[in-house]
């Protein structure tokens, strides 16, 4: 894919997802979404696929205080 072209798979998913929310996007906005995906996509993919089984959980988060001991 060359710069400026929209991946047709992303365009299809984007169109379907936005239609779920009754949202419309112009061609310019879709191109900007593609740009954002090129920048942020790898980080988001890493978050989506990482093993979180060893990470802590905090059901009653209060950002104003240190986490309480379980």
């Amino acid at each position: 894919m060359t710069s400026g072209e929209v991946d047709p798979r992303l365009a299809a998913i984007a169109s379907q997802t936005l239609s779920l929310g009754a949202l419309e996007a112009t061609d310019e906005e879709v191109a900007l979404v593609e740009m954002l995906h090129a920048i942020l996509g790898p980080r988001l993919q890493a978050l989506a696929t990482c093993d979180i089984s060893a990470l802590a959980a905090e059901p009653n988060l209060d950002p104003g205080r240190a986490p309480q001991a379980p």
Binding site: A14, L40, I52, A56, A57, L61, R65
Partner: protein, 444 residues
């Protein structure tokens, strides 16, 4: 006043307050001089698009005794005031006019709101090139970004339009502009203040920010915002944690050198520490931020927003919901890691921004990893404090070879604003105040 300080806005915030209290400075004259200076220096900056002349005069006439009695400030557009509903630099008010909690704190402290600080629209950016009030510039080079989203606050303080300004920080929005403009910016601990009338009130990331020219002024403003005095711990002999990757490793080498020199000058003992989910923190921050901010933004405001702002909102709507749950696990792990880290060190340090302010018309920065949008690079450096809820401060250190300011960021445990301010003051003294007292070309 000396010849170099022949305008009252060249005085520090604390000196303005002290001279008003002693009768040496007429607060009416200070307000008039402040409004005059804003007029004089705003053409190139657009940091303060609105001034509130009759409202400020009324506040001054009714100002109660307080630490900032009679001192004019500017306030970011995320806070409502009795005569102005918060707009977050969009076309329409997001909140109705009224006394926000922040406004009450300033009023009760005797301060006068002289003008509105410009900001990056909706707080969704760190560059200031998108705003319903127009782009705003950096006093060190008006063609460059002042940072964001509290860019108008930092620019106004740096250009000596006012000596203090109230911003906010959901993803570095007080610290990043402070670094770009060469002033001090403090992100408060999450919560602990009245959040009504604040467009960031519904998020779990956003905190108020205090911006001033040095640590002592920032302490004074912070005390008014918190409504209580802060202790004054010294900043000597601190143990400082260093998180190498990615916070030091992927920065402009000159920025790293400036920050390392500052730490060495402070005489602090450093030790390397690790955050176990460190590489995932930027994504967690982006997901949490956008999934909280987008639903809180009215549809008609988004419809009228800049295409890039709309694209952010559209992109966030494409993310699977499971990303939020995953982001929260990363966030929880970060908070545990910080508790453990703060058992070994007093503060944690890394560069506030990885490169100096980029041009407004092409806001990208050059890093060892390549050319990246300034937003992505800046939020990467900032978001840990917002996810964790801890306070953070940016302090000016030696400038970049380009002449643009550079900031060192310090993070401390929850509620330890006094420690950060003491550390910042020590850092300023250890570097001969050369960088907090430096004036941008626009203020010489």
């Amino acid at each position: 006043m000396s010849a170099a300080e022949d305008h009252p806005q060249d005085l520090s915030l604390r000196e303005q307050a002290a001279r008003i209290a002693s009768g040496e400075l007429d607060p009416n004259e200070l307000l008039a001089a402040t409004l005059e200076r804003i007029d004089e220096r705003e053409d190139e900056l657009n940091s303060t698009p609105l001034t509130f002349v009759p409202e400020a005069e009324a506040m001054l006439a009714a100002a109660p005794p307080g630490p900032l009695k009679g001192v004019p400030l500017t306030v970011k557009d995320m806070f409502s005031m009795p005569w102005h509903g918060a707009r977050s630099a969009t076309a329409d008010a997001l909140l109705p006019p009224g006394e926000s909690g922040m406004f009450r704190r300033l009023r009760d402290g005797g301060a006068v709101v002289a003008g509105l600080a410009n900001q990056h629209a909706l707080g969704w950016g760190t560059t200031g090139h998108i705003s319903a009030y127009g782009a705003h510039g950096n006093p060190w080079d008006p063609r460059r970004s002042p940072g964001g989203s509290s860019g108008g606050s930092a620019a106004a303080v740096s250009a000596r339009l006012v000596a203090g300004s109230v911003g906010s920080d959901s993803g570095g929005s007080a610290r990043i502009p402070a670094a770009y403009c060469g002033v001090v910016g403090l992100k408060l601990t999450y919560g602990g203040v009245p959040r009504d009338g604040y467009t960031g009130a519904l998020t779990s990331l956003s905190a108020w920010g205090a911006l001033a020219r040095d640590a002592a002024d920032t302490r004074l403003l912070t005390e008014v915002l918190l409504g209580r005095r802060l202790e004054r711990p010294g900043g000597a002999g601190l143990r400082v944690g260093i998180v190498r990757a990615p916070y030091w490793d992927d920065c402009d080498p000159a920025v790293v050198a400036s920050c390392e020199q500052a730490l060495a000058a402070a005489g602090w003992v450093t030790q390397d520490i690790e955050l176990s989910a460190g590489e995932l923190l930027p994504a967690a921050g982006i997901v949490r931020t956008m999934c909280e901010l987008v639903p809180a933004t009215p549809a008609h405001v988004l419809a009228a927003a800049d295409p890039l702002v709309r694209a952010y909102a559209l992109y966030a709507r494409l993310w699977p919901a499971m990303l939020v749950a995953r982001a929260d696990r990363v966030r929880a792990q970060l908070r545990v890691d910080l508790v453990r880290a703060f058992e070994r060190v007093d503060v944690i340090a890394w560069p506030t921004v990885p490169a100096p302010a980029p041009p407004l018309d092409s806001p990208a920065v050059e890093l060892p990893s390549g050319t990246v949008p300034a937003d992505a690079a800046n939020v990467r450096q900032a978001t840990a404090a917002n996810l964790a809820g801890v306070p953070g401060i940016s302090v000016p250190v030696a400038p970049h070879p380009s002449g643009l300011p550079v900031g060192l960021q310090l993070l401390a445990p929850w509620g330890a604003e006094a420690l950060l301010l003491g550390a910042a003051e020590h850092l300023e003294d250890a570097t001969g105040r050369a960088f907090v007292d430096a004036r941008p070309p626009l203020a010489r």
